[in-house]
């Protein structure tokens, strides 16, 4: 309709400095004298640093050779990775049983990818996760279907990292929601309890919790009773993460307009139904991006279990480097490890950004 009533006016092309490569360069790199200066300085620094780095990593490097061959080169010895990949990724898991942790990880990652689609977010997905976690646990521990038992002390490497972060996150989330609701409660006892818990946990570093779980906690147990070390670390991570999730969820709850509570109240819905059906579905949607952020930091923080002698993927890498044969190649190993972490974290954060965009445009 608008087209028929308005007279067509001449459409001009934008000025050349605003579009295309030149326009991009102008707006992003040379839009003022100090930005131009920064651009030039940065280019000079890069000219000095990049070629030698490239030379080291790609030209003078060896990718799949013996340790001896590496002694004769100036470049990177990437061979340390393929030669030790089995130990770095799977650690002390008994040989011959490698398929079990690998299958468990594949299952987990498949489910993560499957869960990305918002249209699949139904209650059945929760069941799928529950079942998957049980299968993962069974695969790792064994003891049935002819799989020999693998004690948790032998769980190590990447599967351990995954177990600590994903199990930790999944158990911590409902706990965090309860804490957030408790913190908003009208009942003073519950409210105080939740506030004290959250502030206490947020006030101490994860390392101290891990130490407490591995050193102090067993002192309180009766003689002869031991709780599995991995489980203790997992509990520490869960308790720690729950406090952070509680604060994130609380932010979501506070973002809910009063009108939503009032509308639910005026229908006569009780508290639990109001929360379950009206408030939490909306509040949790708001806090998905920061929740992914927490998952990300949990994933990275699990490397702290090194200090209580659990062999996560960082520790297995360090063990590899303590082998005199490969001792000199820590740079290569840590770069590999950094890329491994970065790959997972980047995938998670870009997913969270995508989700954020979708949720903003959605209802």
């Amino acid at each position: 309709m608008a087209e028929s009533t308005t007279v067509k006016r001449e459409r001009l092309k934008p000025p050349i400095t605003n579009v295309g490569v030149l326009g991009w360069l102008h707006t992003n790199l040379f839009n003022s004298w100090y930005n131009s200066l920064l651009t030039i300085v940065t280019l000079i620094v890069m000219a000095f640093l990049l070629p030698p780095a490239f030379q080291w990593a790609f030209v003078d490097s060896l990718w799949n050779s013996s340790a001896e061959a590496c002694r004769d080169i100036d470049g990177a010895c990437w061979s340390v990775i393929p030669n030790n990949i089995r130990f770095i990724i799977l650690g002390f898991f008994p040989s011959g049983q490698e398929w079990r942790p690998i299958l468990a990880m594949v299952l987990l990652l498949t489910l993560v990818v499957y869960s990305k689609e918002r249209s699949r977010w139904k209650s059945s997905l929760l069941w799928l996760w529950a079942i998957n976690l049980i299968i993962m646990g069974t695969l790792m521990y064994g003891g049935i279907f002819g799989m020999p038992v693998v004690e948790t002390s032998q769980w190590s490497g990447l599967p351990l990292t995954f177990i600590l972060s994903f199990f930790g996150m999944i158990v911590a989330y409902p706990l965090g929601i309860l804490l957030a609701l408790g913190r908003q409660s009208n009942m003073p006892a519950i409210k105080t309890l939740c506030v004290v818990y959250i502030e206490l946990i947020r006030g101490v570093p994860l390392i101290s919790l891990l130490f407490m779980s591995s050193v102090m906690f067993p002192l309180f147990l009766p003689e002869g009773v031991t709780i599995d070390k991995v489980l203790r670390a997992l509990i520490a991570i869960i308790l720690f993460t729950a406090a952070y999730i509680a604060e994130v969820v609380r932010g979501g709850l506070q973002a809910m307009p009063r009108g939503q509570y009032e509308a639910a109240d005026s229908l006569g819905l009780n508290y639990s139904n109001t929360m379950r059906l009206i408030i939490l579905p909306q509040a949790l949607k708001i806090v998905i991006p920061p929740s992914v952020g927490i998952l990300l930091s949990v994933f990275k923080d699990t490397s702290l279990v090194v200090i209580i002698a659990l062999y996560d993927v960082l520790k297995t890498t360090m063990v590899t480097l303590s082998n005199p044969k490969w001792a000199g190649y820590s740079r290569e190993s840590y770069i590999f490890l950094a890329l491994l972490y970065f790959g997972f974290c980047y995938a998670m954060s870009s997913y969270s950004r995508k989700l954020e965009k979708e949720l903003h445009t959605g209802h």
Binding site: P257, G259, Q260, E262, A263, A264, D265, S266, L267, G268, L269, N270, N273, L277, I278, P281, Q282, K285, H363
Partner: protein
Amino acid sequence: MKDLQMNNKTQKSNQPIIEIHDMHKWYGDFHVLSNINLQVQPQEKIVICGPSGSGKSTLIRCINRLEEHQRGQIIVNGIELSNDIKNIEKVRAEVGMVFQHFNLFPHLSIIDNLTLGPIWVRKTPKKEAEEMAMMYLEKVQIAEQAKKFPGQLSGGQQQRVAIARSLCMNPQVMLFDEPTSALDPEMIKEVLDVMIDLAGEGMTMLVVTHEMGFAKSVADRVMFMDDGEIVEQNSPDVFFDNPQHERTKLFLSQIL
């Protein structure tokens, strides 16, 4: 709409459905409502008007305990409102409320917005609740939007959905808190038409509004509030043509 009237369980006909005795309310030290006395008979339609800040919204929000009163009595449908949450929920189930800003649940489709109350409060089977929801959507002439989400509807449509949502609970009283104030002018009529229909069917209604045309044509009683008090109440003819109180005259001269 015979079934609607049947649902309006008009008990003993002289029994007021809402009774408010000497009710006072404070926000901190601020005395918002003072000495409110009000009796509402079944099927009565009351329009409450007054300048902003006069306490008219607060008054109707007290009736379903969205606001707490500190002194006096409010008895709705034979149940006195106190801190007893079970009683409050019972009263709320019988009292529908329509808000200025609709307050639909944005994450639920229109039909789910409507069936939520019946399913979880009245324990109505889902299928039955859906049939009833479709009936009320039909009634507010918006049935074709049932599968959409609130964000996809215009303000007028959303407000009609909100009315239908309240009706699904088969309430005995409907409270309207400035239902047309947030609407664009061209949408006000579609909402008022629904309310007029509803009044014609014998619903007990308390309406806070500035739509004086609606008050004249629908109300049994028009109430003027100022500074937390009921200043004057009368039948619309008397109220508009021959207001008794100076403050009422001043108010009417400003808005008419």
